[in-house]
Amino acid sequence: MFKRRKIEDIESLEGVVTFFGSHHALRSEEVLKKYNVRAVLIPGPREISPNCGVALRFDYSKKDEVKKILDEFFVHYEDIHYYPVN
């Protein structure tokens, strides 16, 4: 449960999914991992969403795949943004 985290390279992950509630944010990471889609939870950037405190970074080129997976697992998200790290 409390394993040491790997430091993830998030520079290449340019897409951000924002959520209304944290349940959905955390579940999105889990279901994407099941499908081997790289995803990292980050503190939600205030500029793009005032809602949930947690957002998800992912590879923007896989936008359609991510959308499909999230819908399949009843994960409700607010929006998908293009939001590079720098």
Binding site: F2, S22, A25, C52, G53, V54, F74
Partner: protein, 400 residues
């Protein structure tokens, strides 16, 4: 604190008596080690507030909650885990369901088997203009569909029924009631406090709209945990409103699951324990647990059969009854029997009315009640024999 032994001060002096816990219908004991370990770990290493921030501790806490929600979803075969709301117990879940779905002029059908956790909110709602009909169960504690059908009318919004009685252990045919509700387009609320983790429940097979359950009974979690499954829609008015960590820019309650019904900080340490309890139950298999309870029931009934000093209540058939037996010894009050069992034999039971006065009126044991024995997954065959032996001894002694 009483753990394995209690002292007994009898005519032979003080001695230590082993404790036999036969009150699992009230709360299960002992709990699996993994439950205690998960809670300890959470206390030592966890500790953030789920959903309130994006830092690592908040995320770990959120994951703990998510993990338990997913485990519960797989136990009940629920596709979308967000449809499960955590509450502090089954009573809170039932209150959310009843207060949220009923308003003035609505009609609700319930049964005479219900616990006060359903009856008291309903009696309060009756004062507010909700009409209530009570379907009668038979003396075995079983509610036939025909009894419910008789009470239903055009304005019936909800049928609230217990999955199994906490007095007699009799299991209701929820599947049959569920398909009736579907045909008549009435919502079904099931109180599964007594059956969760000991009787298989598959929400895809039974047409249940609202399922209230406790976490500290058959699911082997700590006290202070429970939940409500809401099948679909947004028809329930939240009972409480407050901070959820989401939509913080607004002063209105969010309208999405599960945040809508989970205001305020959750009991995350309890939920961490509950998750391990659910995992334990899944790994063991609910079918196997039910088989275990039923086998013990058969032994219990077998040991006491043929002795006319005992009056047993309930259906008295394995697989149609949970691991609960209610009985009385002729000529002895339940409180006296309970006291002797506790003090002399270290057998811990629940005596009296079990918060279900209506059920006791139906089986004819009001106002004295019964002595209720309820075992669990950790109860052994020899414990049952010890208990029945003690009972027979009490019955014999007092006859002379």
């Amino acid at each position: 604190m009483v753990f394995k032994y209690r002292t007994y001060w009898g005519s032979e002096g003080i001695k230590l008596v082993k404790v036999y816990y036969f009150d699992n219908a009230a709360t299960s004991w002992p709990k699996p080690r993994s439950v205690i370990k998960a809670m300890q770990e959470y206390f030592f290493y966890g500790g953030g507030n789920p959903g309130r921030s994006g830092h690592i501790k908040a995320i770990e806490a959120g994951k703990t909650v998510l993990n338990t929600r997913q485990l519960l979803a797989s136990l009940f075969n629920i596709k979308d885990p967000s449809r499960i709301v955590f509450t502090k117990n089954a009573t809170e879940a039932l209150n959310i369901a009843l207060f949220g779905s009923l308003s003035k002029g609505d009609h609700v059908v319930t049964t005479s088997m219900e616990h006060n956790s359903v009856m008291r909110p309903l009696r309060h709602l009756e004062d507010r203009g909700v009409k209530i009909s009570v379907a009668k169960m038979d003396s075995k504690g079983w509610v036939p569909l025909s009894a419910i059908e008789r009470e239903v009318n055009e304005s019936t919004k909800l049928i609230a029924v217990t999955h199994a009685s906490n007095v007699t252990g009799t299991i209701n045919d929820i599947k049959e009631i569920g398909s009736f509700c579907k045909r008549r387009n009435i919502r079904l609320l099931v109180d599964a406090a007594q059956t969760v983790g000991v009787v298989p429940i598959d929400v895809e097979r039974i047409n249940v709209d609202l399922l209230a359950f406790s976490g500290h009974k058959g699911l082997l979690g700590p006290q202070g945990t429970g939940g409500l499954f809401i099948r679909n829609g947004n028809f329930l008015n939240p009972l409480m409103r407050g901070g959820t960590g989401s939509l913080s820019d607004r002063e209105e309650q969010p309208d999405f699951m599960p945040d809508q019904y989970e205001s305020g900080t959750l009991n995350v340490i309890g939920i961490a324990g509950l998750g391990e309890g659910v995992r334990w139950v899944i790994e063991m298999g609910v079918d196997r647990i039910m088989e275990h309870d039923s086998r013990l029931l058969e032994i219990f009934l077998d040991e006491l059969s043929g002795n006319e000093r005992f009056r047993l209540y309930g259906i008295g058939k394995a697989f149609e009854q949970t691991g609960v037996v209610s009985l009385n010894i002729q000529g002895l009050s339940p409180s006296k029997v309970g006291e002797i069992l506790d003090r002399r034999y270290g057998i811990l039971t629940r005596i009296g009315l079990h918060c279900s006065p209506h059920a006791h009126k139906t089986i004819g044991t009001f106002p004295d009640g019964t002595v209720r024995f309820s075992w669990g997954v950790f109860t052994k065959q020899k414990d049952i024999v010890t208990v029945t032996r003690a009972l027979k001894k009490i019955a014999q002694e007092k006859l002379i």
